[in-house]
């Protein structure tokens, strides 16, 4: 019985469509495609907003409060880097990869891995090293949504900063190796990005 229904459905799918013209059918699927793609991207963009990220208390009560005191939240020029500016790459391919990885965070939310301040603190080092390792692997792709070494005006930087950035260029260092713990509390733990990089390189 079940098979018969399926077979009939399959036969209908295989049959040429004769009632409407090719133009009508083509136009329908063209419009449907636009609506689907637009909806998909709008939905994806919605998950990139600060209000989405801070919709859960895990983010709102911990990392969001720390970030609110930093220059990426409030500064003289009024350009704000929101959560996704630093945690989600801008270009489509890398964004999709990151979004698929982030679905694991939904599982974390359901199982309550970090649902109390104590649990969050206990898990902070693990989460931070995961972010550092990711940024080491992608040459700090999110930082480069806005910052590049090429676009830095050396005359506007202090001598100290100029020396550091010249060293970064010469030794092929990536942003996160020096600039970590800048928007959230630095976790207690043995490895920072420099130590992590050394470990990753020795494994290769």
């Amino acid at each position: 019985m079940q098979i018969g229904w399926l077979a009939r459905f399959w036969a209908t799918l295989r049959k040429p469509y004769v009632k409407y013209s090719l133009l009508t059918v083509g136009s329908f699927f063209f419009v449907a495609g636009v609506v689907f793609w637009g909806g998909f991207n709008t939905g994806l963009e919605a998950t990139n907003t600060m209000s989405f990220c801070t919709g859960c208390h895990e983010m709102r009560d911990n990392v969001y409060q720390e970030y609110k005191k930093t220059i990426h939240y409030s500064n003289r020029t009024g350009v704000r880097a929101s959560c996704s500016d630093c945690h989600v790459p801008k270009d489509w391919t890398h964004k999709m990869v990151r979004k698929i990885q982030a679905s694991k965070e939904v599982w974390g939310k359901i199982t309550g891995v970090i649902d109390t301040p104590e649990k969050f603190e206990a898990h902070r080092y693990t989460m931070a090293t995961r972010e550092w390792a990711r940024m080491l692997a992608t040459d700090s792709i999110e930082c480069r949504n806005c910052h590049t070494l090429e676009a830095m005006s050396s005359t506007l930087q202090t001598e100290k900063a100029q020396r550091r950035h010249a060293k970064a260029k010469a030794e092929n260092l990536t942003c996160i190796e020096c600039h970590f713990g800048i928007a959230h509390k630095e976790p207690v733990g043995p490895d920072g990005p420099t130590e992590l990089k050394a470990k990753l390189l020795s494994k290769k």
Partner: protein, 107 residues
């Protein structure tokens, strides 16, 4: 029973000074004074970590005096072979400075 209570009470009194340094206050002063730009508690940055500093001064009688001077009087330090200015903490409150020095030394 009574002697046990006395023992417990004296243990508490002894235990308190070890945790006397106010961590939140120390961290705030570190951030306000921009120390954390070059120093981490336990990780590698341009300056030594506070753990390294604590290890260096461990068991030395003049540790507190030396570190207090380093934190309050601007000096020069060498980074990658270049001399750079080492700043001072942005407070004149001696209690806050003492707290920070003790906190660093107890890492």
């Amino acid at each position: 029973m009574k002697s046990r209570l006395v023992l417990l009470a004296s243990l508490l009194v002894i235990a308190v000074p070890a945790h006397a340094a106010d961590e939140a206050g120390a961290m705030k002063l570190l951030e306000d004074s921009k120390c954390t730009k070059c120093h981490s508690v336990d990780k590698k940055k341009d300056g030594p970590s506070f753990k390294e500093t604590a290890a260096k001064y461990k068991g030395k009688a003049d540790a507190e005096a030396k570190l207090t001077k380093h934190l309050t009087v601007p000096s020069k330090v060498k980074i990658d072979g270049v001399e750079e200015d080492h700043g001072a903490v942005k407070t004149r409150d001696e209690a806050k400075i003492k707290n920070l020095v003790q906190w660093i030394l107890s890492r």
